[in-house]
Amino acid sequence: MGTFLQQLINGISLGSIYALIALGYTMVYGVLKLINFAHGDVFMVGAFMGYYLANGIGVRAAQGLGINPGSGGFGRLISNGLVGGGEPSLINALLIMLLAMLICALLGMLIERLAYRPVRKYSRLTALITAIGVSLLLENGGQWLFGADPKPFPQLIASRNIQLPGGAVITNQDLIVLIIAIILMVALQFVVYRTKTGKAMRAVSFNLQSAKLMGINTDLIISLTFALGSALAAAAGVLVAIRIPRIDPLMGILVGLKAFVAAVLGGIGNIPGAVLGGMLIGITETMIVGYGQYVGVSPTYRDAVAFVILILILIFRPTGLMGSVAQEKV
């Protein structure tokens, strides 16, 4: 029982990360009907931004940019970062996460403006190929800029074990990741359902042309949707790096694909669905690793689980668990 509880907690923790990324997929799909392949890579950029915010870009790189590391607060911040080898603290971790979110929100808006908006008038296939192009650009640009080898992520929060009733153990990192993820999801729910911008987003997602006729600045709303989604992905990036402190420029591919599957599983375009899908995939994956061997499934199959689920869901319930059937209009 204790191990089961442990697996469940691990699964939920992993699932909350998938859920955060899946939200971005589902929101962009909702407004543009576009699978934003680059989303998983924005997640990667988020993790790297966290890395550089914590560590700085290094003294030599800073000097290369003409910044004197010795000259007061700013220079030291650029070259040594917020943590700079100092004591880990929750405040720093939160600050790093928020800044990474801000940077990635801008990145998301930039991607939308430069790559997706010019192809919006063409077919959806064109947009999809463009998204693959952006994804490849971020992956390979990342390898060039950040270096291809994995980097150790600095410890932002000192690890401590918390004993739970039933024999399970949860680390304080896992707990913080889970709490932050839940707060972000609730915040998103608030933005989408309780604010005017959110109402506009839902209108654009319902029908872009009508929304435009109602006086909604659809370009701005689409841009904001990308910003929100990318910010969530960046948060997920930093949170993943806190849990598993190894980051590399290709880390977003598989996680991104699985998160997309989570979005489809929950019903693409549906926000609570994305959270549910993410949790289900996270839990299933952990359970396969934990218990698969008893039914003859090797833990190495964990990366196939999400896709098997995807194919099953598309056969039996193509609209996803919480999606509604949309009649195709001619």
Binding site: K33, I35, A115, P118, V119, Y122, S123, R124, L125, T126, L128, I129, T130, I132, G133, V134, S135, L136, L137, E139, N140, G141, W144, I253, L257, F260, V261, V264, S298, T300, Y301, D303, A304, A306, F307, V308, L310, I311, L314, I315, P318, E328, V330
Partner: protein, 357 residues
Amino acid sequence: MSRTARNLLLTVVVIALLYGVDYLFANGIGGFGISPFHRRIIMLSGIAITLAVSLNLIIGYTGQFSLGHAGFMAVGAYAGAYFTVNYGERLAQGLGGATVGWVIVLGLATLIGALAAAIAGLVVGVPSLRLKGDYLAIVTLGFAQIIVVLINNIDAVGGARGFSGIPIVKSFFWIYLVAVATIVIVHNITNSAFGRALISIREDELAAEAMGVNTTRYKVMAFVISSAMAGAAGVLFAHFDGYLNPKSFEFLKSVEILIMVILGGLGSIVGSILGAVALTILPEALRGLAEYRMIIYSLLLIILMIMRPQGLLGGLNPFKGWRARRQAKTRTEAEEITAEDTRGPISVDKEGTGTHR
């Protein structure tokens, strides 16, 4: 000469030609051999052509977005390689010794690989092609991912270590026979009733269905044919280097084939061929820029989509020369005349609405 006889003669000529070039390839021309480096590029181009043209059948002509072409290639490659590793030696001996025997065995392996990939295509296609929209892209992508994970876990084909010890048969003849066959088949399909059904699906699936096209059936058929071709290319690839690694069939390989098709132009066979050759030569030409190769590719892809989304040769068909265009022109003129004749001159009533008398 009857049609069948002409086609038969053409086939014989093509095979003889390929065999001749194959011979020159292996033995050199009057003392001037082709360097192994160039030979390698020429053969890899042939495999790439098969992959790109077959993917074009699904994406360019049927309008279905598949992101798992490398997965079908992997199925074919491993099935074919498994066959030659386990039965090849004995069969080759039985079929008249080393060289000739191996050529026949490779042909058999290619058939087996194509068949295996076709079955995989059927299994993937039937459930996913019923759905509209982008789901096929995701399912094929997921399928390719599952294939790689499966291969990683099958010990009989080496698992994650890779499949080594595959007999190396660098056969120009088979590589280009498969490439030519792929080109001819795709060209003929697109000029047949089947092909017009596929194009109608691409243009408007709902309208095609309303016109009585069994869209799912046609999509699955195109998908299976294309998968089989990818499988055949996979077998040839397996026997080219004698080593297979599951890693080489991951998402990036599918994307590479996709870029070949898109660069050349959706729905253009010549475009796919040029794209395949270009993307095989480019990495060699850009050797000095190896670090930036993928960055250049991805930028190219984005810029191409913004400037010319149909690809460089998309919508153009150099096979259809002036003759076809002139025929089309005379046909429209003739239609206009008959239309006027049957309907008679137009009379305009008081309200100004024109009606035929």
